[in-house]
C-alpha cells in the first residue's frame, strides 16, 4: 500500500483521527472465527480499519442488521449476461456481488485479444473488483471454427496485468492429459498462478492426469459424487447456478447428507442471463438456496467470500476485518439474504449508479460474416437406418446420444418430436454448415436462432422447417448478431446483440423485455417450460461437453471424439 494511504488508515485504526465512515450497530459475520459479533465497522481510504467502537466523519446506523463482505462470483462469462459489463455489475451489485472472476472466453473466440481488451477496458473503473482469467481454449478444440486462435505467445503480455490472475477454464481436457505441446506452453506460462478447470465426466485416472497438470478448480461438477472425486484430489469446486446449468441442489444435498466440510467450495454463475439475475438474484441466490438446504449461514457466506478470495490469491478481499477492502453488504437476515445496502471500497452503491459504458471499437460491432447459404446443405437423408440424435435435457447442458431412425421419406422432416438443428460458420464466411436432429426441444411452426453459441459462436438454429431456419439465419446476419424467433415465414422478434454478436448495446430493461417476449414465444411454440430456450440452444454446438453436439462441421460425438455425420 502506498505510504500516504497507509498512514491515513493506520491513524484511523488507532483512533488518532476519525474514520471516513463508520457503520454503526452491525452484526458482523467473522469468516475467520465463525462467529457473528455486534460492533461498528470503521472505514478509511476505502479500507476497513477497525471493528469495535469508532467515530466517523460520516456514520450510518445499521440498526442491528447483518454485515458480510461483498460476495464473489468465482467464475462467470460476462458476455453471457448479454449486457454491457458495467450494466451487469450494477445489477449484480444490488444483490451483493462486488467481485467477479471473469473468463472472456466468448469475446476471445470471436475477436481474440481485442475481445479480452474490451472486457478489461469496460470493467476498468467499475464499482467492483473484476479480475480476468486468460481464456485458455480459443478455439475450444481443434475441431472448431471460431474467429481467432490464442496461443501462449498472445497471452504473455497479459502476465504483467495485475487484474489477470491466471489461466481460464481449460476445457480441452484431452490436450492437457495427452501432453499437447501448445497446451503445455500455456500451462507453463501461468506456472504458480491459478488454472481454472472444466472437467465434466472425466474418469478417475483422467481426472488425476488433469489435476497433475496444475488445474485446481472446476465448476462443471453436477453430482455430489463427482465433485467429491475432485475434492479428494484437492480441487476447489465452484457450485454453479446459471441460467441453464443448475448444479447446486445435487451438490449441496450431498454435502449436507454426508456432513462434508465446505472448505473447498465456492459459488459461481458461469453463464447467467441478466433477466435471471434480476429475477432471482446472483450469488445471493446460491447462498440463499444452500442455506435453505441446510448449509450453515456462516459456511455459506465463507463459500461466497473468503474461500473464493483465497482460491484466487486475493489478499484483501473476502472478509470484514482490518486491512480488507471495504466491500460490504448489509443483509436483512442470514436466511433471506436480501441486500439492504452494498458498499464497494467504502462507497455506497445505490440503484441510481451511473452506468457509463465506454465506446466499443467499430470492428467489434461488425463480426457476423456469413458465407453463401445453400438450402441444399440443410437436407438430411432419412429412411436409411439409424441416426445419432441429440437429446436435450432441461436444466442441463449435458446431452444424450440417442440412436434412432429419422422420420421422413428420403429426407428428414421434423415430425413434432424431432427438430432440425443447423450451425452456420459466421467468422470467416467459409459457408461451412452442419446439420443434425434434436429430441426434446419441442419447437413447432418456426425456428429459433442465435449468434451466441458456445464456444465458437457460429450461428445456431433449431426449427421444424427449412424456410424458417433460413429466414432466422439471415435475420441474425442483418442485425450483426442476436437472438431471434421466426414463425410462419415472419420474424416474430429479435434481440440485437451487435457487440461481437454476443452483447447488447442497450439497457438491461430493454434486454430483459425482449428476452421475456422471446422466451414466452418459444415456450408457446413448444419448448418445455423448464428449459431456457436460448441458453440451452447456445450449448448445443459445444464439442467439449458430453455426449453429442452439432458444429458447423456436422454431428460430433464428444465421448468418442469423432464426427458422426
Amino acid at each position: 500500500m502506498k505510504l500516504d494511504k497507509y498512514i491515513g488508515c493506520s491513524r484511523a485504526a488507532r483512533k488518532l483521527q476519525k474514520a471516513d465512515l463508520v457503520l454503526k450497530n452491525a452484526k458482523i459475520v467473522n469468516v475467520f472465527t465463525d462467529r457473528v459479533e455486534p460492533g461498528s465497522i470503521a472505514i478509511t481510504n476505502g479500507m476497513i480499519v477497525g471493528i469495535g467502537d469508532f467515530q466517523g466523519e460520516k456514520e450510518i446506523d445499521l440498526e442491528g442488521k447483518y454485515v458480510t463482505s461483498g460476495f464473489i462470483d468465482a467464475h462467470l462469462h460476462l458476455e453471457s449476461t448479454m449486457v454491457n459489463p458495467q450494466v451487469l455489475i450494477s445489477r449484480a451489485a444490488m444483490h451483493g456481488t462486488t467481485t467477479f472472476i471473469v473468463d472472456p472466453h466468448e469475446a476471445a473466440n470471436v475477436c481474440g485479444t481485442d475481445g479480452i481488451d474490451y472486457i478489461l477496458e469496460q470493467t476498468k473503473d467499475s464499482p467492483a473488483h473484476v479480475y480476468v482469467m486468460m481464456a485458455s481454449c480459443v478455439p475450444a478444440t481443434g475441431i472448431d471454427d471460431n474467429g481467432f486462435t490464442l496461443s501462449a505467445r498472445e497471452m504473455e503480455p497479459y502476465l504483467k496485468n495485475r487484474r489477470v490472475l491466471g489461466l481460464g477454464e481449460v476445457m480441452d481436457c484431452m490436450s492437457v492429459i495427452n501432453g499437447d505441446p501448445a497446451m503445455n506452453q500455456k500451462l507453463e506460462l501461468f506456472d504458480g498462478k491459478v488454472k481454472d478447470g472444466h472437467a465434466p465426466g472425466l474418469d478417475d485416472l483422467q481426472l488425476a492426469a488433469y489435476v497433475i497438470a496444475g488445474v485446481t478448480t472446476d465448476h462443471e461438477g453436477s453430482t455430489y459424487e463427482y465433485v467429491m472425486k475432485e475434492r479428494a484430489m484437492g480441487m476447489t469446486c465452484h457450485i454453479r447456478e446459471g441460467s441453464a446449468a443448475r448444479n447446486l441442489e445435487m451438490i449441496v444435498k450431498g454435502i449436507v447428507e454426508n456432513n462434508m466440510n465446505t472448505e473447498g467450495f465456492c459459488f459461481c454463475t458461469d453463464d447467467k442471463h441478466i433477466e435471471d439475475i434480476t429475477r432471482e438474484g446472483d450469488i445471493d441466490h446460491n447462498v440463499r438456496k444452500a442455506v435453505s438446504m441446510g448449509i450453515s449461514p456462516i459456511a455459506a457466506v465463507k463459500m461466497a467470500t473468503i474461500q473464493p478470495a483465497r482460491c484466487y490469491g486475493l489478499r484483501r478481499t473476502g472478509a470484514v476485518a482490518p486491512g480488507y477492502d471495504a466491500d460490504l453488504v448489509v443483509w436483512d437476515s442470514l436466511k433471506d439474504f436480501n441486500a439492504q445496502m452494498v458498499f464497494y471500497n467504502g462507497e455506497l452503491i445505490d440503484d441510481r449508479l451511473r452506468v457509463r459504458p465506454k465506446p466499443c471499437p467499430a470492428r467489434l460491432m461488425d463480426t457476423v460474416r456469413l458465407g453463401p447459404v445453400d438450402p441444399q446443405d440443410l437436407k438430411i437423408p432419412a429412411g436409411q437406418g439409424d441416426f445419432p440424435v441429440i437429446r436435450m435435457i432441461p436444466g442441463q447442458i449435458l446431452t444424450e446420444k440417442v440412436i434412432m431412425p429419422l422420420p421422413g421419406q428420403g429426407e428428414f422432416v421434423p415430425d413434432g418430436r424431432l427438430d432440425k438443428i443447423a450451425v452456420f460458420e459466421r467468422h470467416k464466411a467459409t459457408g461451412k454448415t452442419g446439420v443434425g436432429a434434436v429430441l426434446g426441444f419441442g419447437l413447432r411452426g418456426g425456428a429459433i436462432a442465435s449468434s451466441v453459441s458456445h464456444d465458437s459462436h457460429n450461428i445456431i438454429v433449431i426449427g421444424d422447417n427449412d424456410g424458417d431456419i433460413l429466414k432466422a439465419v439471415h435475420e441474425i446476419e442483418r442485425c450483426h448478431g442476436g437472438y431471434t424467433i421466426v414463425s410462419g415465414g415472419q420474424v416474430y422478434d429479435t434481440l440485437e446483440l451487435p457487440v461481437m454478436g454476443l452483447i447488447s448495446d442497450k439497457t438491461y430493461t430493454y434486454v430483459n423485455k425482449k428476452l421475456k417476449h422471446l422466451i414466452a414465444q418459444a415456450h408457446r411454440m413448444g419448448v418445455p417450460r423448464d428449459m431456457d430456450p436460448f441458453i440451452t440452444l447456445s450449448f448445443m454446438a459445444l464439442p467439449v461437453i458430453p455426449q453429442i453436439r452439432c458444429t458447423c462441421r456436422g454431428v460430433y460425438d464428444v465421448n468418442e471424439g469423432k464426427f458422426l455425420t
Copy 2:
C-alpha cells in the same frame, strides 16, 4: 511443469506405464475430505500421480500404516539449531518434516546478504523444500548494534528467486504502525506476497494497524485470547514449540475448550536446538502434543501440512493427492506419530542420508570483532535506590521488569538471587558495553556467555563475578563465537560456533554432546531445571520483546521504548 516430466506423470496416472514407485496398503489421510482411506500411492517423477490400485517398478508394502504429507515447519531460523542447515534437515526429516519456511534473520544480522546467500546455498540441493522469507528487520530496531543493515534496495534482487516467498517476520511493529518510510518500502516491495509478523503484546488498535500493512501471520502468540484477537483479524497463527518459547499448551487448550475451528493455525519451531529436536521431535512433537490435548488427528495433520502450504502459496505441497510432491511420511499411528519412513520427492530418506555441507566462505568464519574491554565498564552503582532488574521466566522469552534496590556497597555485587548481565558489541569493535542485573537465572560461581544473542548477536554473558564474565567473553572471542561456561577462573567447556558466531562446523552428535555437557553444568551452577540456559540467555538482549532487555547500549524498557540506564 516441463512437458517431459508431465507426460511421464500423466501416462503413469492413466496406468499406461508403471509408476516409478507404489506405496501399497496404506491408510491415507486426505486433508481435503477429512477422511482416512485405504489405498496405494503411485509416484512418478517425484510426484504423486494416483491414489488407488497401481503397479510400480518398485513397490513397498506399508502393511496398513498411516500416510500423511511431509510436515511443514511454518517458521524457523535454521541458525538457531546451531548446526549446518543440511545437518538440521537430515535430523528433522527423521521426524517427518520435509518443508521449512526459514527466515535467515540471524545470518543477515551478522553478515547481511552474505548470510542470506549462505542459507540459500547450503539448502539448495538438500532433501527438503527450503523456502526463505527475506529478513525484514536487520537490524531489528534502530537502537541495536548489529553487523549489517538491509534496506529494500538490497532485498530487491531476491524477488526473482523462486525460493524467496515473501518478507520475514516484521519485528519492528512500531515502524510499521507509524508508517516509517524505509519500512514501507520493504512492505511495498513484497506487495502481493506473504509478510510474516512478529507481534507480541500489541493492543487491539495497534494490531489492526499492523495487519492493515499487510502482515498476515504471527508466531508470537502465547495465549489463546491473544491469538484469537489475531485470528479475528484474519492472521494465520503459527503455534510455536521451540527450545525456549512453548506456546502450544495455552493455545490448544483454548481451541479445544472453545471448540474453535483450526483453519487458521499452523505449527512452527522458530528457535529450536538440534538437541531438543533429536530428543523430543520437530513438528511431529507439536502434532503429537496437540492431539494428546484433544485436537483431532486430521485437524492436527492439516495444521502441519496443507494449511502452512496454502499460507505460503505452495501449490504442490501439503497433501497426499495427484499433482502433489511425493513428500510422504509413514506413521505408526495417528496418536503417537512416530515416523517409520519419510519420502522426499518420492525418494526414501534414511538415517544414513549423506550430509555434505558446502564450503563456507572464509569471511563468514571470522565475524567476532571485539573492541577494547574495560573492566570498569562492568561496574554498576548500588545503594542509590531502585534499579530496573530483568526478571527471567522459565519457558518464556518474555521478561518482567522488577524495580528493586541492588545489593552491594556502592557497587552491585551479585548476591545469590541477582546476577550480572553484560552485552559486548562484537561486529565493528566499537567497545560498546551494556550492563544490568537479572533475577531468576540463579547462576553461582561463574559465568555463561554466548555469541548467539538475538537479534544483533553481540556477546551476551551472565555471571556472578566480573572475573569469570571477562574470561568467558575472551573465550568466545578466541573461538570466533560459541557457547561457553567459565567457573572459578577456568573455562569449563566451550561449544565453538565459528560460522558467523552462530553455527557449528561439526556434526550434530558433537554439538549435542557439548550442549548436554554445558547445559548440565549450568543447571549444577544454579540455573533452574526448567530453563534452557543458553536459549533463554540468547533472548535477553532482544529489544523487541516485552518487557525489559539489556543491549550493548544499556538496559532497555521495551514497553516504554527507552533506555533506563
